[in-house]
């Protein structure tokens, strides 16, 4: 019996007991993806690459990190100075966190650009938003763990925010932090959540995101439904099997991404004070607040919205209103598939109101991010509320402008000339 035969027998033996061949076909070799994927379609695969990096480097960090108020910062110094290659593992994890968000923000923008959230991909979008929210929780928990001074004060500001919830807030805050102050009890649970519970839920979320995608099929820059034109075998004429075509072609962006990533890991690990903020090179000090408290960059748009409310109104504190606005900003994302009433998916065929609104939205989000990273008095007080208004207008006015605008006719096939 040749080696080839033996291998094929083994596959047969397993396949009888576990549907490996069918799974491979459904998700790889016979998963037909549109042939016209462009630059924006790299970020899904890249997100998986970063996620794998986070899991691997994270597991290694748990081998050396100690989650107590006395030891946490020292154990990070130990990793950086004494553990062989410890610095590389920590920097991969820390730069990886920021790169994860860069990739995810571009991935989400792709969705907005080509209507990837529209029918029939609503569930994919919802799972995706669920993953995004979990990532923010994961990022926050992880940022507290080194127990630098910004970790400590960041945790304090966020936990005080929990305390600002009317009636139940104060008790909830003490329950979450596990002590009357942020300390060992807080670190212990944040560590457990960061390394076990949240990643487990994230994996389930990612699994559902991909299974739901493969059920309905990928969208494409044209927003054309490739399943509408199939060959004699029922395979889309404008589709190509994911494997080998996209598995091979995705290798190039992955390599370019890894070059950029490791350039950062080796030469720019602090991200110019944005990946690790300068106060975090000092241990947590409950008697000295950093001059200027700002969250890590990927939270800053929401932080700017939080701060944008400065007036108490309707019997509620400004802080509580800030909380309501930020929760609303997150919540509205989940309803996007039902806010868009357009008959077409891709921005290429949507009307100019959609194009302008998406542009305004992207600009407002980026500028909110800039504002959130700066001190509160850096820009005039009206700027943050104005940008927050644009953010919400993009969503809340969407049923109107997508319904009323004039769209271009969508060709039936990819590559065909329209009109």
């Amino acid at each position: 019996m040749s080696l080839r035969e033996a291998a094929s027998n083994l596959v047969g033996w397993v396949d009888y007991r576990l549907p490996i061949v069918k799974t491979w076909k459904t998700h790889m070799s016979e998963y037909y993806a549109p042939k016209n994927f462009n630059f924006w379609y790299f970020f899904g695969v890249l997100a998986l690459v970063v996620f794998a990096n986070q899991v691997l480097s994270g597991i290694w960090l748990t081998m050396f990190y100690v989650p107590t108020a006395e030891e946490a910062f020292k154990s990070i110094e130990y990793i950086m100075r004494d553990v062989s290659s410890g610095w590389a593992i920590r920097y991969m994890h820390e730069v990886g966190a920021s790169f994860f968000f860069i990739v995810i923000y571009l991935h989400i923008f792709r969705g907005l650009l080509y209507g990837s959230y529209q029918r029939p991909r609503e569930l994919i979008w919802i799972f995706g938003m669920f993953i995004y929210c979990l990532m923010m929780v994961e990022g926050f928990l992880g940022y507290v763990l080194p127990y630098g001074n910004m970790s400590y004060w960041g945790a304090k500001v966020i936990l005080n925010l929990v305390g600002a919830i009317p009636i139940i807030g104060e008790g909830l805050q003490i329950w979450v932090q596990g002590d009357f102050v942020v300390g060992s009890a807080t670190l212990g649970r944040f560590f457990a959540l960061h390394v076990a519970l949240v990643p487990l839920i994230l994996i389930v979320g990612i699994f559902l995101h991909i299974v739901a995608l493969h059920q309905v099929g990928s969208n494409n820059p044209e927003g054309i439904d490739i399943k509408a034109h199939v060959d004699a075998d029922g395979n889309p004429l404008d589709g190509i099997p994911f494997h080998p075509y996209y598995t091979i072609s995705d290798l190039t962006p992955v390599v370019i991404f890894l070059i950029l990533f490791f350039a950062c890991v080796f030469y720019f690990p602090g991200g110019g004070g944005y990946f690790i903020e300068p106060p975090n090179y000092l241990p947590a000090d409950k008697l000295s607040t950093p001059e200027h408290i700002a969250p890590v960059w990927y939270f800053t748009p929401f932080y700017a919205m939080l701060r944008s409310v400065t007036i108490d109104s309707f019997g509620l504190d400004a802080k509580v209103w800030g909380l309501i606005i930020v929760s609303g900003a997150m919540l509205v994302l989940f309803f996007l598939p039902w806010l868009d009433r357009s008959a077409v998916l891709s921005m290429r065929y949507k009307g100019w109101p959609s194009k302008i609104m998406l542009m305004l939205f992207a600009v407002s989000f980026v500028f909110l991010g800039v504002l959130g990273a700066k001190p509160a008095d850096w820009a005039p007080a009206w700027v943050a509320p104005a940008l927050t208004t644009i953010y919400f207008a993009y969503f809340l006015a969407m049923p109107v402008y997508t319904k009323l605008e004039k769209t271009k006719p969508v060709p039936g096939r990819i590559g065909a000339k329209s009109g």
Partner: protein
């Protein structure tokens, strides 16, 4: 007695069994959740560390700031002089909440001096803006600013911990629960019985 389906199944019994089992499972789930939820509360050790503290007032000089720590928070204690108490009246129109309407103090400290004993101020030394620790300012000259000044974002509080108008801090400094065991002993972290 009970409804039966065409194929001989007893659907009433089915409903009853599914209903009771699911109810029991739900109750069991709640029971199971209890230790998980409770374990997040402050542990006995943390509660012991957060126990009330005792302060001997006789050792505190008049007019200067004395700092104690309770539950990881700085507690500011000032034996206010007569001039200091008079300064409280003068500041009133510059304050955001001169009458302590916000629930930032126990009811027994909701008075013009925000204290149980008129002269003695007991407040948490945590700025109500972002939690920095305000600095004590009580100089000699009468026209100078007297009170607490937060170096982080410039919030100002008077010598009763009341916040000034036009500063980032939204509310007065918090008064922790406290009482006097006897004339010279202050207990912070607990409230005595109402009547003595």
């Amino acid at each position: 007695m009970s409804k039966s389906g065409g194929d001989g199944t007893n659907s009433g019994r089915r409903m009853f069994l599914s209903g009771t089992t699911s109810t029991l499972f739900a109750m069991g789930a709640m029971g199971l959740a209890t230790p998980y939820v409770q374990s997040w509360n402050p542990s006995t050790r943390a509660r012991a560390a957060g126990a009330p503290i005792e302060i001997d007032l006789s050792k505190i000089p008049e007019g200067s700031l004395h700092v104690e720590e309770w539950r990881g928070k700085p507690i500011y204690i000032v034996k206010r002089t007569k001039t200091m108490l008079e300064s409280l009246e003068k500041a009133a129109d510059k304050l955001r909440d001169p009458d302590s309407e916000d629930e930032q103090q126990p009811h027994y400290a909701k008075n013009k001096n925000r204290s149980r004993i008129p002269a003695i101020l007991v407040v948490e030394g945590i700025c109500t803006h972002l939690g920095c620790t305000p600095k004590y300012r009580a100089g000699q000259a009468d026209d100078e600013f007297w009170g607490f000044f937060c170096p982080c974002h410039g919030s100002r509080f008077d010598l009763a911990g009341r916040v000034y108008k036009g500063v980032p801090a939204p509310t007065n400094l918090k008064v922790p629960p406290h009482y006097y065991a006897d004339e010279g002993t202050l207990i912070v972290g607990n409230e005595e019985r109402e009547t003595t």
